[in-house]
Symmetry: none
């Protein structure tokens, strides 16, 4: 059976990568993905901190960017404790564990993104996720250590193993790579149609579009349909006699 | 109101004491007790690892032995992942949190003992507890990092408190009339761009598009953005010199 992938985005310290690997294995998770780890990979500090979870470290896969790291996943969560003004559902670790189990039972692949130690995930990174994963904490002291956040995700995953699965739609969201294809296609055509003006608003417009498309829960077939729509709209119009 | 005390028995590394303090405060616990810390106290490695939870470190109290450390407590838990052949109840972190809350509500004082990093609590130490506190883990890789074990205890304490994560604006879906405006606009432009061909497939294509747009859960603002996208795509392209 598939399990959630733990995806560390630009982790800074090898020690934290090792500690995350250790606590993952404590709770039966062993699929670790690293996006552009600051000090490269392998990192000599990771192994000792993993305290025996060497298999998790050895099988960790490195990606250049988040899009690649989530390309094969159907559902992605973004771990954050800060409020984000984004139209995405927000779930607790407990709720996320139940959702992930139901998704996996339905044949989907899922993962959770965790940000760098100092600053977490940027808004540009959170948009890659369907759902915001957040731990209820003491608001006056909210900054969780990276490996501790992973610990709580892993603990809840394992704890919920006896919980009843929620019902799940049998049309799974498209793999992220297909959604990425749609986003790339749309942006290219919008670029050609002068949509991203003025230039200083372009990053916000791109993020807004990505949020809309990531949040739609579109199936692979729907993504294909939307590509057809973009292609048709961008083509010459008969009414204008082009 | 009283809260559970976290009692570290002969902790070896100052760094782990600091990390335990940090995650305690993340979840609203601030009473740390240390029984004969190996490297004495204060420990210069604890403060940096606490990452701002200085108050917990500063107020930590050192005891010579467990008996002294638990003298004022009514209920004591012993954290262990190994099976113990002892006539004591065994509870999960979740069950312990509920029990502790009930005990505290009844005016009792409670605490949890955590053993040294290398070997945990000895049987002679576990006897000081009323109840065994144990985290369900992967039996094949059961050794939890000290600060991670504290993290799970603190997380469960806080989780049971009924506190919710700060809720983001729910961003309700757009009124249907606005969605209808988008669908009408899109269909009109697609018509102009010869999308609905062959004619006998048009009803199916329209239904497919409606399913996609109704299912997206788009907010009013997102609907406005999508109208802008349709307008831009349907407009003359600069690349084609139209």
């Amino acid at each position: 059976m598939s399990i959630p992938a733990i995806i560390l985005v630009q982790p800074q310290l090898g020690e934290n990568i090792g500690k995350a690997a250790r606590v993952m294995l404590n709770f039966g998770l062993d699929e670790l993905r690293l996006v552009a780890p600051r000090d490269g990979w392998p990192n000599p500090a990771a192994g000792p901190a993993a305290s025996g979870a060497d298999g998790v470290i050895d099988r960790a896969v490195v990606f250049d960017d988040i899009a690649d790291a989530v390309a094969d996943l159907n559902r992605v969560y973004a771990a954050t404790v800060r409020g984000r003004d984004m139209p995405k559902p927000v779930v607790t670790p407990q709720e996320a564990a139940a959702e992930m189990r139901a998704a996996i039972d339905a044949g989907q692949r899922v993962g959770i993104l965790f940000g760098r130690e100092k600053s977490g995930l940027s808004n540009e990174e959170v948009v890659f996720a369907d759902t915001i994963w957040t731990v209820p904490v003491n608001a006056a002291f909210a900054s969780l250590n990276l490996a501790q956040a992973v610990a709580i995700a892993a603990y809840e995953w394992h704890r919920g193993s006896g919980d009843k699965p929620a019902q799940w739609d049998d049309s799974p969201p498209a793999p992220k790579a297909e959604l990425e294809g749609l986003i790339g296609h749309l942006e290219e055509e919008l670029e050609a149609h002068n949509y991203f003006r003025p230039a200083e608003r372009a990053p916000t417009l791109r993020r807004t579009l990505r949020n809309i498309l990531e949040g739609g829960g579109f199936t692979a077939q729907q993504v294909q349909t939307l590509r057809g729509v973009v292609k048709a709209l961008a083509s010459p119009s008969r009414d204008r006699g082009e």
